[in-house]
Amino acid sequence: MTRKQLQNLTEPMFYVFLCLKTPLQGYAIMQKVEEITNGRVRVGPRTLYNLLSRFEKEKIVEQVKSTSNKKSYILTPKRDEFLNNELFCLKQLVIDGERMLEGDINGKR
């Protein structure tokens, strides 16, 4: 599975992926992550740089031409599937967790 390439998908990684459905410049990515998480998750410039370098190396993200001199990034087409898989895994994680917790509580009761 694609997960092999990025074994530990961290929160910042996931939110950066989410932001890159459309082409965005570095600063815009950092701002958007803060915005969609209401400031809970913040991605610093160096962290973003490391993530993007790694994603580019893994061919998950690519650079696109931008009107300004600054670089823009977007997920590579086939990585849409990867994102959907990740989302599915996370959803499943929540469902399983809730089911188990409820089961525990019911059991104790």
Binding site: T10, P12, Y27, R42, V43, G44, R46, T47, K71
Partner: protein, 470 residues
Amino acid sequence: MESVNSIIERDINEYGKLKKIKVVSAIDKNYLEKTYKDMAMKGWLVDAIKGSRDSYRPIEPCELEFSVTYFQPVTPLDYPDYDKEDTYQEFCEDKGWSLAAKNERCFVYYKLPENKVSSIHTEPSGEYRSIWNAMKKGELISFSILMLVILSQLWLGISNFRYENLYRPAGLLNIIYPSLFLIVVGGYMIPLISWLIKNKSRARDGKPLIYDSYNKVRLRNGLYSSGLAFIFIFIIYNTTSIFSYFFSIELLFVYLLNIVIPVGLGILLRIKIKRIKSKRSTNIIIMIVGIFVTCAIVIGATFSLVGHMDPDRLDSNIPSEIPILTHQDLGTDLQFQPRYVERYKTLMVPLSFEYESYHRDYHGDFYDIELTYIQARTEWMAEIIANRAVYDERRRIEDRMDLMLDNKLIDYVYSLNPELYGLDFAYNLSRFNTRVMLVRNNIIYFVQIDKAIDNNVLERIIPILFGESK
């Protein structure tokens, strides 16, 4: 928004620039940030980092927050990738961090405290990785090579150690210099490795990295710098003492071959590889000239400290109260003066010298005296030298005897009768009764005369060497 630079700018022509030397490693990030912050409060902003030297420009004294981040080429044999650097810089500046200074290893950013933007590193694992990479390409690689060189030197020094090393500066240098270096470099590496181990699990668990306090780093780096300074002074002291007595053009060439050429070639090789890898041209001629000018200055400074060789200096430097053994003392009427061969001084042996005197008479018989005088600083040092001499000579005799060795020969180095002459030790050190060692009151003599133990020769010379108070 008004740029931070326009707020703090000050006229450089009025205040000039400030330069400071620092000794830091990649794990001293917090120390550097605090240092730059303190300097900004005093009205100085770091604007260039060149190796261990920081250059500051004047600003309005104010509180600034700094972030030191590491960003270097893929390997030490690469030029910086300016495209990647620009991207990184763009991210930082867009976020509100201004670049104060950078070099091939790190970038220093700053901002006003009221500018509440996120830190440059928001993931401990990324921060740890950047420091690990910086150390891997910097301290760890250079210190590992250095340790290898030091250990090889120490091993060579120990395996070739003889009692002469205890009173000859060159011999001592072979042991003490690598030992000191090992202590200093090893002592410096321990906190670095300990930091890496301690923070690896923290970075993996997403916990903030722990850095040493400002005072602890100051103490550590102070000790390291003092250690290096001590070694440097020690080497200069020993080098000057060696050159004082042995100045020769051959020695200069040995120095050139051993130090300047390998270092120069190493640097050139690195430049060449970098050039090939990047396919960019650089002004190599300027760098080559720079390397050789630097080497010439270092050698020139060393020789300036040594001064000129004075052939008469050796004789005049032997204190007059020290008796000189001549052939008349042996009962012959041959007229000649001894010739000084070498004179040494070390921390443990304040004075030692050697002289020889030889003559061929009318019948073609050859008379030779070789004498080594060693004045040990303490009794225990005299004992070490004497015992080591016996051990070395015994081993040499055994080596030469090879398989023909028998028990009698193993005990060949036998004790004389020291009480008879008021000596602390007296040993015969040769198979043919020609070399003896005499020790009294921390003074050791090695005397080499034909048939030294026979014909009462020893009884003649002991009172002369040790004066009346035997």
